[in-house]
Symmetry: C2
Subunit: 369 residues, 2 copies
């Protein structure tokens, strides 16, 4: 019997052409392109094209894909009905998992392909925005086909067109989070598709996995900490008190990056810029103080992508419980691309378990126990 | 960079006290008890007790658990509404995945525990039976609290109480399939819960993973083959023709068992007995001929659990597209038990991927491409 590998740490479970997490050098690479070069240049749709088709689009290709995405934003009748039936105080990640699952109900097993990737990707913002409207007692806002993925989500959420600043900030975030090598949600989706199941089943697995606070849920916890601190000059004392009590401060450290997470570097810049432009610099300043205090205590622990995304979202006016769902909107590009990759060269993913239970026991029928 | 391990074959991803798949000796063991001793003695509820509480119940303990299970069979309002909204020709596994996900919608993250395991386990037969009634244009049948898990499912499916023979056959099947060490659906559920997500999210992952024809979907494929053959004396020629064309014959071979799957041994017996009692021996005879023909061609390839469950189900009058869902009803005991185990001693399950994409490329903005 081989040794048990807790958490499968250090085991290579897949080969991928989609992204490289270069932990030693603090680089994230999408199909050969360094993220720092792309994040403020490309639209989410361009990244999706790069992932799904293997190359950056030219203008007609990009327009074509954007049109297909914007033409696939509506929910099926069953998905709309399921959404309407959900309680208003539901966790949006539970809503997303359930409505996307209903959206994927089919008569027979369908093979994963790019059209399926487009359809499931296009539906996420519709589900989340419609649910958010509904729980406020407002009517859902119909998508606007001429708006891109980021702009249309903000539009459906609020009913008014967002400023170019906000759209740009959200788009950068969607690009930055679109894929990240192997991670728990991508992995669960690959395990699901590897039985030759369908794309919606695999995406449903990914959503449920992303939900956990050790994965996508972390950015919401970061924001709760920032809100608890409330003012930049209280940050140092409060963080030191937490550290003294061995309480975990969320948003720091990463299993792979040994330097700063390159996405955090870009989001820190956005946090500051957005703070200045919107008169909410305080959230950037609190974040900065938390970071400084943490780094003094633990010099090897860097802020990760969750840390600076929290203040960015908050300044954009996005409710805390939509933070993880937006992570899902972004990661859809990577999830679907890695699923197509898994399916194209599939092998059932089935590790072993080690039995550590009781040795052989003698069975006694219930009435003689 | 360590080597890529395709399919994670031979990697130990978890320790478990729930079951041991002893491939070399053809034994399946539940917490120390050999399955061959239990399968025709114990009820599904007893196995669930053994899994969840770590020991076989005495009579009051078993009655207590059975009452809790039978008291948790109803769907939430949202789950019932989602079920009603689904198209009648939907794949039952998609229905199960979606309605169970809706059933698990909560206001906030809930910790996995035995009550959650009981609730989600109790809901499966209700979802599946109600959907099957609905698609036939019939009203759902209310559960009968005095009936056990197997008997009540058959009752809700048909509206009449099943004969003791059928209940016994289904119960044995539910016991036999209740856990099986590591397997793709259990593994996907563990990956999901390991981010500290909730039990319903993890079970939703498991359902989507089980759906694939390389996992739970196999028994439906076996039945399609038996129906295609139609008569025992046609089996040999048809199987030989398939083998000649290198077509895969489903229901044979297993990554772990090097001898016959012990569950197949028991189900073969049930298949024959049920055939004799119900005047449908033909499905057993066809299966037997297929097995003989396969073994002559490939002496090391044994029938697996999917092979003999197909004829058993069919003789019980269960529609083919409910075969995989019944597998899910059974495996719920093991899924939930392994989730409790994972959660009690958790570590994020996050392997690595190997980047095999293009080397460093220079980014060119879209209008200069």
């Amino acid at each position: 019997m081989p040794d048990y590998v807790p958490g499968l740490e250090g085991i290579v479970a897949a080969q991928t052409e989609i992204s490289l997490v270069d932990g030693a050098n603090g680089r994230l690479v999408y199909r050969g392109y360094v993220i720092a070069d792309l994040a403020e240049e490309m639209s989410f749709e361009e990244v999706a094209h790069l992932f799904w088709f293997g190359h950056l689009p030219n203008r007609p290709e990009l327009d074509g894909l954007a049109a297909e995405l914007s033409g696939s934003r509506s929910l099926t009748q069953a998905a709309a009905a399921a959404l309407d039936a959900l309680p208003k105080d539901a966790d949006p990640m539970d809503v997303l998992r359930s409505v996307v699952s209903v959206q994927g109900v089919r008569h027979r097993l369908e093979k994963p392909n790019v059209p399926a990737a487009i359809h499931v990707t296009a539906s996420f913002p519709t589900v989340l925005a419609a649910f958010h409207r509904r729980r406020q007692g407002l009517d859902p806002v119909k998508p606007r086909p001429e708006l891109g993925h980021a702009a249309n989500y903000l539009y459906m959420l609020t009913g008014t067109e967002a400023s170019p600043d906000l759209v740009r900030a959200l788009n950068t975030y969607l690009v930055l989070l679109a894929d990240h090598g192997m991670n728990a949600s991508t992995f669960s989706a690959r395990v699901t598709i590897a039985t030759l199941s369908d794309m919606y089943s695999a995406i449903t697995s990914a959503i449920g996995t992303l939900k956990g606070p050790l994965h996508g849920g972390a950015n919401e916890r970061v924001m709760e900490t920032l809100l608890e601190i409330g003012e930049a000059d209280r940050a140092r004392d409060m963080i030191n008190a937490k550290l003294k009590q061995h309480e975990r401060v969320m948003g720091f450290g990463h299993r792979v990056y040994k330097t700063e997470d390159p996405r955090a570097t870009i989001l820190r810049r956005h946090s500051e810029a957005l703070g200045r432009r919107t008169g909410q610099l305080k959230w950037y300043e609190i974040s900065r103080e938390v970071e400084k205090t943490m780094r003094e205590d633990k010099p090897d622990l860097y802020p990760n992508v969750d840390f600076y995304s929290a203040s960015v979202y908050h300044m954009m006016g996005i409710p805390i419980d939509q933070f993880t769902p937006i992570f899902a909107i972004s990661r859809m590009a990577g999830w679907t691309a890695q699923l197509l990759e898994q399916y194209a060269n599939n092998r059932l993913i089935r590790p072993e378990s080690e039995y550590v239970g009781p040795p052989s026991l003698k069975y006694v029928p219930i009435d003689k126990r």
